[in-house]
């Protein structure tokens, strides 16, 4: 499938792909924004949420923040390599980013298993419902991002579609930023 001419035009001066990624992020921001606003309204109306939040594992949450930030750094490196046309290197850095994503998911599932075992399931109360819902939606984005990065890395290794490395990087930073909002709201605000 060849690209139509439309895709190659750039009246704004920004490449079409990048423009589209920004629009994707804009709509994602509203989705997470809606969810977090709902959570905040509940949080402000229910002081007892603080007690529930005490049962979350802040250490592991902080660990995960660190893991995600590191993987974001790897994504920056991948972009740097791609800019200079070094596809295979970019692919390697992307694989490292995927590694970060997997580590994040592992820690997350360990955390959740523990919490569920202690009886803090999604149906326990509104706090835990929000906790699993928001973190779960975020985790879906992590999984989706990892899969997309895998595909792009496979292309990049053959020096194809290198501009996409930057695009997935932008997306990955967004996923990171969402977590940076989630972490204090769900873990720290006690």
């Amino acid at each position: 499938m060849q690209k139509p001419i439309a895709t190659l035009r750039s009246a704004t001066g920004i490449s079409t792909g990048k423009l589209a990624v920004w629009w994707v992020l804009a709509s994602e921001i509203v989705i997470f924004g809606g969810l977090l606003c709902s959570y905040l309204m509940h949080r402000l109306g229910h002081p007892e949420f603080g007690d529930y939040a005490a049962h979350t594992n802040t250490t592991l949450g902080a660990c995960n923040t660190f893991v995600l930030l590191t993987s974001s750094y790897f994504a920056v490196r991948a972009h740097f390599e791609a800019e200079h046309g070094r596809g295979p290197q970019a692919a390697k850095w992307l694989m490292a980013t995927i590694g970060g994503a997997l580590m994040f998911l592992c820690i997350k599932s360990y955390e959740w298993t523990h919490e569920i075992r202690e009886g803090f399931t999604i149906t326990r109360n509104a706090f835990w419902s929000f906790y699993y819902c928001a973190a779960g939606l975020h985790a879906c984005h992590v999984i989706g991002g990892a899969i997309i990065m895998g595909i792009i890395a496979a292309d990049a290794a053959k020096n194809r579609e290198l501009q996409r490395v930057e695009l997935v990087g932008i997306y990955w930073h967004f996923v990171d930023v969402v977590w940076i909002f989630l972490f204090p709201l769900l873990y720290i605000a006690k």
């Binding site: 009246a11 969810l35 709902s38």
Partner: protein
């Protein structure tokens, strides 16, 4: 007039040019240079071509519209003749009645207005009007339609599961929608939410495509204010949609969890809040009105300028009012909740914003009326539809003030007055403007002219009964008829003969309206089979889609056009012709 043979020649020439000019088409061009040789599946079902996707959206939307129309027939018959066997449906029981009204509303907004106005017209017009060969992401475009089709199938499936279709109104307020114990449709309600969520995903993908295409892929020379109004409107609508739907997507996830897993997001007993859903829903739901309105007024702008041979009066003003409406529409949502138990002080703020939104909309209508001044008006079928849009939409607009003003909304909330009001906005949008656009662009879509006589019969047969349906409902609403009641026998004040007569009048009008839609389908079929060849530019219009052959081939233009001027340069003094296509250098 272009002869068929000539057209054929054109399209071949077109491909040759495309190959020569552009390497992006490159060797692949040879593959679909003979696009008529593509297999049936590739051409009609699995196509990436924006025009085919537009037609898929158009006809899927129309099909769903027929279902929605049938639903309205069934429940209107029940309203007029309660307890009678409705021919073709059977007796309407209370649960079926609820499912019918719920799905009628859902279909008409999400599966008719949205796909036809935004997706179908957007897909068809944006690349053609901007002078490019396709959407920027053709495969995402195809995916968008496929998800949309899937959502439609899920919705249809939801009517046939045990317990029947969801019956909690299209607003789906929890706790009713959240617990099977209350709505008694455990599967139907879940499938309903999933269908709506899938539909949102489809339009998010489509919207990203539209906005990016409009921003990046304009023909050389086309400046911001040279973009035809309908493209602007579809783009603004897409942005509005993207900006407002997010919270409801989150809300839909929460609602599905409430229904299936048993969480308590909207359950007050478990720390949730039922009002939260209303905020999430209407934060989307009110901008949604403008999401479907804006493309409709864009279509009307194209048509009235062409058929009055006039430049659009104050192009920039129209654009600014559209922006103004879009921005204001994010701050009016709580007028749906005046009596829903929100803090009464909030109502004052939302009354102000809601009433003020009348200003940009009124201004837009003034502009359209002013455009007619000094024109040379030709009442063709598309023009009749476009003018009817203005005349009828005005009724919807002014009756909205009664509902936006908190004091009078106390009485009118959830009565038939509300129902008549929003049908006076949605029918002009989703029916009148759609017919306007469809009859106007039909020659470009299919290369044939539609029959004018049948078109006019269909027009009058739709417009007159349409008023016959909803004007009586304003009156029953003022008399206190409230919505979603399947039978008034238990309410002595509503079971009066006068009100019953009005309801019957509305129902009979609806039957006439529906019967006249057959004229449209007959017209559609005979025009497709036997219509007069349209030629490139039958309406002698300026915008770029009319500079290519009808129907445009894969790749749209023989040579991608360059744009020299705005889209509405009609009757320019000193020119012999009364139109001046955007791609003509002189």
């Amino acid at each position: 007039m272009a002869q068929p043979a000539e057209e054929h020649g054109h399209s071949h020439e077109g491909h040759d040019h495309a190959h020569g000019d552009d390497h992006a088409h490159g060797d692949h061009g040879a593959g679909h240079g003979g696009h008529h040789e593509e297999g049936f599946v590739k051409k009609y079902l699995w196509s990436c071509d924006h025009k085919m996707i537009a037609k898929q959206y158009m006809f899927t939307g129309m099909f769903m519209g027929i279902i929605g129309g049938f639903f309205s027939y069934a429940f209107r018959m029940q309203m007029a003749y309660p307890g009678h066997n409705v021919p073709g449906f059977g007796v309407v029981s209370p649960n079926e009645y609820n499912a019918l009204i719920t799905n009628h509303g859902t279909i008409m907004i999400f599966w008719l207005a949205m796909p036809v106005l935004i997706a179908a017209f957007g897909n068809f017009l944006i690349p053609l009007m901007l002078g490019c060969d396709d959407m920027v992401f053709p495969r995402i475009n195809r995916l968008s339609y496929q998800i949309f089709l899937l959502s439609a199938l899920v919705l249809i499936a939801s009517w046939f599961v045990p317990g029947g279709g969801f019956g909690g109104a299209w607003t789906a307020y929890p706790p009713l929608s959240a617990k099977a114990q209350y709505n008694l449709t455990p599967l139907g309600s879940t499938l309903w939410v999933i269908a709506v969520a899938l539909e949102f995903v489809a339009f998010l993908l489509g919207g990203i495509n539209f906005v990016t295409t409009a921003m990046n892929s304009r023909a050389p020379g086309m400046k911001m204010f040279d973009i035809p109004m309908v493209v602007w409107m579809i783009v603004i609508a897409s942005i509005l949609f993207m900006g407002s739907v997010g919270p409801l997507v989150a809300g839909a996830v929460m609602l599905v969890f409430d229904q299936t897993v048993g969480t308590g997001f909207f359950d007050p007993v478990r720390g949730g809040d039922p009002i939260l859903w209303q905020h999430l829903f209407w934060f989307f739901g009110h901008p949604e009105v403008y999401v479907v309105l804006l493309p409709a007024v864009g279509i009307v702008a194209e048509i009235i300028t062409v058929f009055s041979r006039k430049k659009l009066f104050a192009y920039r003003t129209v654009l600014y009012t559209a922006f103004g409406t879009g921005i204001l529409s994010f701050f009016v949502w709580a007028h749906h909740q005046f009596i829903a138990g929100i803090d009464p002080r909030m109502a004052n703020v939302f009354t102000a914003t809601t009433v003020l939104i009348s200003i940009p909309i009124a201004e837009m209508m003034f502009v359209y009326v002013a455009t007619l001044y000094g024109g040379s008006i030709r009442l063709t079928t598309p023009m009749l539809w476009a003018l009817a849009f203005i005349a009828e939409f005005m009724i919807g607009g002014v009756t909205g003030i009664f509902l936006g003003a908190s004091g009078s909304d106390i009485y009118f909330h959830d009565t038939y007055f509300v129902l008549a009001h929003f049908h006076y906005t949605f029918v002009p949008i989703a029916v009148i403007a759609v017919f306007a656009g469809f009859t106007y662009w039909f020659p470009k879509m299919f290369g044939k002219m539609m029959n004018e006589t049948l078109g006019k019969i269909h027009f009058w047969g739709t417009i007159l009964p349409f008023n016959g349906v909803f004007i009586p409902l304003f009156i029953t609403g003022m008399g206190g008829d409230h919505r979603r009641i399947y039978n008034y026998q238990n309410f002595p004040e509503l079971a009066t003969q006068e009100l019953a007569n009005l309801r019957q009048f509305a129902t009979v009008s609806l039957l006439i309206l529906l019967a006249f839609q057959f004229v449209f389908f007959i017209n559609l079929i005979i025009s497709l089979l036997n219509g007069k060849a349209a030629g490139n530019n039958p309406w002698r219009a300026n915008t770029l889609e009319w500079t290519t052959v009808s129907p445009p081939p894969h790749g749209n233009f023989a040579q991608l056009p360059t744009c020299y001027r705005g889209p509405y340069e009609y009757s320019v003094p000193g020119r012999e012709e009364d139109f001046w296509p955007q791609d003509q250098a002189t």
